[in-house]
Symmetry: C2
Subunit: 267 residues, 2 copies
């Protein structure tokens, strides 16, 4: 493989990468996204994400050689970039100088493929990309059968979600839904028990709900406003993580992670 | 109470508030910190935090009147500020226009007051203020007997920690330690079982450790590098949240929260 070189941050290919990192619309139109850091580039390659091109400084090529090998083997184009170009592309000043231009994969989970025996976590209108990423990371750790997100959640392929998810975006079934209440109704029709996570202390507790079973989905709402009445009604049941009377709520990614922990298949 | 007015963001009192928000050193020297947002100002007042002065726009005084009442009753000085002054003080453009200058309380937990029957969570060299805040929030929700932090963790009274903790900084015993390995050793001498959270799959699992008991402390390490060998040796035992082989680790605040959830007093 020949290695090309880009030394100007005004290069059109660099400008395209910057747009792909910053704009969801650019990603949707092109079907492409950008991964930063040696470890995440390795994760993407090992998970079978299509890699169009690898961009790296000479320093990074040496320092992170083992991490870059799978991406180098999988892609047809390697581009040497200078440190100023790397800083132009980077989310922070302390960049490793490694980027991959990747193809957004086909959805790994569809409404039709949801299983009556599955265990699912559903995120409705979350706002914070760090929370989405942390939940993806927890879901990978505790092994649920799929994550479902409403399409107003932060984009999975944004740099902040990718970074916080630590590879969790690449390695598990995820479905982004345009009409979550409708999807919830179809899950109920399949026999999946859909539980709205509520701040209502009269709701069923997570112990009472016995989440360690097949055919269950827990639905988490927005950080500030929780779940809409429509979503709660669509679910039909509510579930509550018992917390101290002195406390009002948990961080959304913490609540989601505790539900995932309770839903995990044991032994 | 008379209400003063400040219309210039160059006012020395405003400059002092900006320094207190941005610099830990300023907070340490003065023993003061700044709280932003109506809800947090209310939490501080209700928790008995000493409030030197309340700063608010006229719009905020009207809109958030019920939240401001406890702080107004508790403090001797109310200052009307203009919108540009509020924006100068604020962490984001969408500020509510409410700030309180508060006194850092005396430490609510000391090495001497740690109880052999207590349940403690210990954070060693965490880096992310959002993680520290989320753990404080979870600790308040699940009711542990105290949080212990090494003094290289983000400052509790920084705006980011205060915001993420949602009042958790004000309402529970916290100890900041200059010598965490030494503190851990003194906890062990008191008979507290100190468990280092490890990424070592050969460690005791969280189920095996039976964390729902008195006289136990779980120690969480840095987001990137975990716990030092010195800390692990000081603890004497290790504990592990079982995760999928496909996953390397959990977000630090998620891991801490799952330990707190497992440590909670039930029923």
């Amino acid at each position: 493989m020949t290695v090309q070189e880009i030394t100007s941050s005004q290069n059109p290919r660099i400008k395209e990468l910057v747009r792909l990192s910053s704009q969801k619309k650019e990603r949707s139109l092109s079907g492409l996204f950008v991964v930063e850091s040696a470890k995440l580039v390795e994760e993407a390659a090992l998970a079978g994400i299509g890699i169009e091109a690898l961009y790296r400084t000479d320093e990074a090529a040496e320092k992170y050689a083992p991490y870059l090998a799978p991406a180098q083997a999988a892609c047809g184009s390697e581009v040497r970039i200078t440190r100023p170009v790397a800083e132009k592309l980077a989310a922070s000043q302390h960049t490793q100088g490694v980027f991959a231009l990747c193809r957004i994969p086909e959805p790994s989970l569809t409404a039709e493929s949801l299983s009556p025996q599955g265990r699912y976590l559903v995120l409705s209108s979350l706002q914070d990309p760090g929370n989405i990423g942390a939940v993806l990371r927890s879901a990978l750790a505790f092994g649920c059968d799929g994550l479902i997100l409403s399409d107003d959640c932060p984009d999975l392929y944004s740099p902040k979600v990718l970074r916080a998810a630590m590879g969790g975006v690449f390695r598990q079934p995820v479905l982004v839904s345009r009409d979550l209440p409708e999807l919830i109704r179809s899950m109920r029709e399949k026999g999946i028990d859909t539980l709205a996570a509520a701040l209502d202390r009269s709701a069923m507790t997570s112990d009472e709900a016995r989440l360690d079973r097949d055919g269950v989905a827990v639905v988490i709402g927005n950080e500030g406003s929780g779940l809409s009445t429509e979503m709660i009604e669509a679910c039909g049941k509510t579930v509550f993580i018992p917390i101290s009377a002195r406390s009002e709520s948990l961080n959304a990614s913490v609540a989601a992670s505790i539900f995932l922990w309770e839903m995990r298949r044991r032994g």
